[in-house]
């Protein structure tokens, strides 16, 4: 769950390979460090332990003033340690803060009053709590665990609902993507980073550590592709029951899905699942955006990747 929170906090913005320090409160799931590292795109130094509201405010304060962790992730705040009332934090005018409040009961006061948020600040509270954070209107960003439910009879407003269960330990009985290859490929998978070869000028995507044109591996530099505006070359819609087995949970949560091949730059293509669109809503020659979303779980690990969404699609149905 904590890794999910970070993904909500920094969708597509974690292009750095630098070291991150992350303060996590509450219970931490196994492998959470890997999860942060994968999402943030760099090694993570994790500090964990229980914390109350007052302590959380202090952590955030240190984070935003550059003396503490770069990200603060609060999971399961300890109400007994919180002290009375809410804490107030003064934010600087720039920088990013990830802040997660776990399931505050309906009608409870804002757990932390952050005041007006500066540009670039990402406040990512959980569910109902989001609506009660003052000034949280404009800069909210989400990354949904699953996609908007398109099927009939599913409750509205569950977009981006968080799955708090650990990933199922389902083992592939056939094709699978080895963990090392998944992790090596995360820059391409999550942020659409290609390899640009400075020897011959070709762009290779997805990255495999070697130029597809001149076959050299020693002159590659990261080449971020545009995350929005790709052109659709081909579409299909996978009927219910036609998905690979590892996608069963996604279909259960969000219904059948489309798949597109898009051109990100001239000659550079990606095959992406479609989110937030019904059959026929995305066609050849349309322009689409991309979003980081959960794909499936295998061998006890969540797998994420970018999905194509209609251009101008909101990041989610939260306050806008």
């Amino acid at each position: 769950m904590a890794a999910t929170a970070i993904e909500r906090a920094v969708p597509g913005h974690a292009a750095t390979e630098s070291r991150w320090t992350v303060r996590v409160t509450g219970p931490v799931l196994a492998n959470v460090s890997d999860g942060f590292s994968a999402v943030l795109g760099g090694p993570v130094e994790l500090h964990e332990g229980p914390i109350g509201l007052g302590g959380l405010a202090e952590e955030i304060s240190q984070a935003v003033h550059g003396n503490g962790p770069q990200l603060v992730v609060a999971v399961d705040l300890d109400p007994d340690a919180s002290g009375a009332g809410s804490a107030r934090v003064v934010l600087p005018t720039e920088g990013a803060v990830a802040f997660v409040v776990d399931e505050a009961p309906e009608g409870s006061p804002p757990p932390v009053d952050l005041g007006p948020l500066p540009p670039g600040a990402y406040v990512v509270p959980r569910l109902a709590a989001v609506h009660r954070v003052q000034g949280a209107a404009s800069p909210l960003r989400w990354v949904g665990d699953w996609d908007a439910a398109l099927g009939k009879g599913r409750p509205a407003g569950r977009w981006g609902d968080i799955t708090t269960d650990p990933p199922p330990v389902r083992v592939s009985e056939g094709a699978y993507l080895p963990k090392p290859r998944y992790r090596e490929g995360r820059a391409s998978r999550w942020r659409l980073v290609a390899d640009h070869c400075t020897a011959c000028g070709a762009v290779s995507f997805p990255s495999r550590g070697r130029c597809r044109q001149c076959l050299r591996g020693d002159r590659l530099e990261p080449h971020p592709l545009p995350l929005d505006g790709a052109t659709v070359l081909a579409t299909t819609w996978i009927g219910r029951g036609g998905q690979p087995t590892e996608f069963d949970a996604a279909v259960e949560a969000s219904g059948p899905y489309g798949v597109v091949i898009v051109e990100l730059e001239p000659g550079v293509r990606a095959t992406l699942p479609v989110a937030d669109a019904a059959p026929g809503e995305i066609r050849i020659n349309d322009r689409v955006g991309t979003r980081l979303r959960r794909l499936y779980a295998i061998d006890g690990e969540w797998r994420y990747g970018r999905k194509a969404v209609p251009l101008g699609s909101p990041d989610g149905p939260g306050p806008s």
Partner: protein, 387 residues
């Protein structure tokens, strides 16, 4: 160039949802192939064996070729498994041709096999698509129906081809399958039924997709010099060609063309020293209806975007100018993955000897088989003649 090898016998089990397990299927196909040799053959004269199989579901993933010797009744048979997904059979056939040509064996056995219907739905959907690009296409939630659905969508759009052209492939191949007692589906379908069928991977519907089938097929090859010892009517393999391409479709310059097929066809025609106008009929790899249209174009029998009109005109029907898949193709005959390439050659063996019964193509003298692995990542083309 002359003949590279002679086919002296062939066998084929029923394709479909079968009770038999893999060993029984191999045994049945091999026994039938041996029994089909006109002047008889001693089992011990078989010098090499090749088993084409994906090993669907995880059955005997390693070392499966050892059972060839056991089930063929040839103790100690030097054998190897050839795995190139749906093109395993075509590539195994080429290996056998090369074993004959090198002098390594005077007689070689090729068996194609797949057992697909006995696994659970969940395991089957883990396995379908294992031969696609697992590192990217699979992560987008695609099996092969989805990959070919994308290709079909692009093809219909770029070439302004009506979806009815895909349906025409299904209608034709089902009509042919209805005359094949080994076919998985032996029932004709109407264009209306095809058009109304539920979509599997839009624009492909149920009738655009080959079924999941069990089955096996076997061929006996001999060097052309000694073929008359076994039969007075051998069928000759005159040309072989093969190629490969990127695993992922997204990495190819053109989404509606399989360059592996194009290169394989060019080398096959070059090695056979013949031309397209000489070909009496084709066995085209039609795992999905769109694949038969691409195959016709990539093999050089139709211009880009013109295979749909060719099919709608009836030219590829059994009584047309260029019959395609007289046995029903993968579409109606079924597609037990490793068996398919061998099964295509089995049909050629019947047709070129004039023993195909109700589905006989008149005056068939030269034939071409086209066997594709995945969505065009590997391709094997073979040209046969009556000599």
């Amino acid at each position: 160039m002359g003949h590279r090898a002679a086919v002296i016998g062939a066998g084929h089990t029923r394709f479909g949802v079968l009770e038999e397990g893999p060993r029984s299927l191999v045994r049945a196909a091999v026994n039938q192939a041996i029994g089909s040799v006109d002047k008889g053959i001693e089992r011990r004269s078989i010098g090499r064996g090749y088993l084409a199989t994906l090993g669907f579901g995880g059955w005997q993933i390693g070392n499966a070729s050892a059972l060839l010797g056991e089930e063929a009744g040839v103790p100690g048979l030097p054998s190897a498994r050839v795995e190139n997904a749906c093109a395993s059979g075509g590539f195994a056939l080429h290996e056998a041709v090369n074993a004959i040509r090198s002098g390594e064996a005077e007689v070689a056995l090729v068996v194609g096999l797949e057992k697909m219907t006995d696994v659970s739905n969940a395991r089957r959907r883990f396995w379908l698509g294992v031969s696609g690009d697992t590192e990217w296409e699979r992560q987008a939630g695609l099996t092969f129906a989805g990959v070919y659905g994308l290709i079909a969508d692009r093809y219909l759009s770029v070439h302004s081809v009506p979806r009815a052209a895909l349906g025409a492939v299904a209608v034709k191949n089902h009509a042919n399958g209805a005359l094949n007692s080994n076919a998985h589906f032996q029932k004709a379908v109407t264009p209306e039924q095809v058009a109304a069928a539920p979509r599997v991977a839009d624009p492909l519907g149920v009738y655009d997709c080959c079924p999941v089938s069990d089955g096996a097929a076997a061929l006996l090859l001999a060097s052309p010099d000694i073929a008359p010892r076994f039969t007075d009517t051998p069928i000759y393999i005159d040309g072989i060609g093969a190629s490969s391409d990127s695993l992922a479709v997204q990495e190819r310059a053109d989404l509606t063309r399989f360059d592996a097929t194009r290169r394989a066809a060019e080398s096959a025609f070059r090695s056979a020293d013949t031309e397209r106008s000489k070909v009496s009929f084709l066995e085209v790899h039609d795992c999905f209806t769109i694949a038969e249209l691409l195959g016709l174009e990539d093999l050089g029998f139709a211009g880009r975007g013109e295979a749909g009109a060719l099919t709608l005109s009836g030219a590829t029907a059994r009584d047309g100018r260029l019959p395609v898949n007289p046995d029903g193709g993968l579409k109606a005959k079924g597609h037990p993955i490793g068996a398919t390439g061998v099964s295509q050659a089995y049909e050629v063996f019947l047709q070129l000897r004039g023993t195909a019964g109700a589905r006989q193509v008149p005056n068939a003298r030269t034939a071409l088989t086209h066997n594709v692995g995945g969505a065009g990542a590997t391709a094997a083309v073979t040209i046969f003649s009556v000599g």
